[in-house]
Subunit: 118 residues, 2 copies
Amino acid sequence: MYTRKIADDPDCGLYLAMRVLGGKWKCCILDAIRRGMTRPSEITRSISEASPRVIEMQLAELLYFGMIEKSQDNETEYPKRSEYRLTPLGESLLPILAQIDAWGLAHQAEIQERLAEI
Amino acid sequence: MYTRKIADDPDCGLYLAMRVLGGKWKCCILDAIRRGMTRPSEITRSISEASPRVIEMQLAELLYFGMIEKSQDNETEYPKRSEYRLTPLGESLLPILAQIDAWGLAHQAEIQERLAEI
DNA sequence: CGGCATACCGAATCTTTTATCGGTTATTGT
DNA sequence: ACAATAACCGATAAAAGATTCGGTATGCCG
C-alpha cells in the first residue's frame, strides 16, 4: 500500500470516491469479482493487460477500504485458496460502476480516438 | 498534456471512462462548472486545495476529450475572459457524477477514517 | 526429485502525475 | 508609474503510482 505525503481532505464526495476507486485497475477488479471471479489468480488472468503485482496491491487497497473481503485467510493451509467477495459497501457501488461502464462503452469510439493521438 | 509511454486499450468501459475522468481534480472541475462556475479563476478558487497549474492542465484535458468547451478564444482580446461550459458529452456524465458524489458523501466517515491512517 | 501452481511480500526502477516557480500579454485600479 | 488581476505556458522538482524481479511457503503431478 502506498502512503501519501501530501494531505488532502476536501469534503467532496467525488474526490473521496475517486480516492477509493482511483487506481489503474480497481474498477476492473471490482467488475471481475462481480462477474464471479473470486480467486486472485482468476482475477489476474481476466485482466491480462495488468501486471499481477498491481492486481495484488490494488486488491489489498480495496480490502483496506472495505470494498471487498477475503476469506480463507488461513495462513497455514496450502495450497492457499483465497477468495475475494464484495462487501455491502462494494455492492453499493455496482449500480454506479455499471453506469460508468455503459458511458465508457457508449463513447468508446470518441475516447479511443483521442487516446490514440496522445 | 502528458503523453504516455505505456499503451493500453482494453475494451472496458470502466477503464475508458477512468482515462477521461481519472485525474486528481477532474470530477471536481466538472462539478464546479455544473454549479455555474465558468471562468478559470472561479473554478480555481472554488477548489482551493488544488494547485492552479493542475486545474489549468486538467481543464485542457477535459477540453481535449470534449467534455467541456471554451468560449472567448480570442487571443488578442484582453483581459482574457474565458468561459468553460459542459458539452453534451460532459452533460451526459452529470447524472453519474451526482451518484458518485452521493456515494462518496454517504460513506465519507468510513473513507476518511481509512485515509487518515495511511 | 524437479517443475509447476497458488498467494503473497519487498525492493529497485521507471513512468506518470502533480507541485512549484517564473514568465508572457494587456487591462484596470491607485 | 506601479501593483494587481486574468489566463495562460514551459521547465523542473517532487511525489505517487506501476512494473519488474526475485523471494517465501507449500502442495501436487509426473
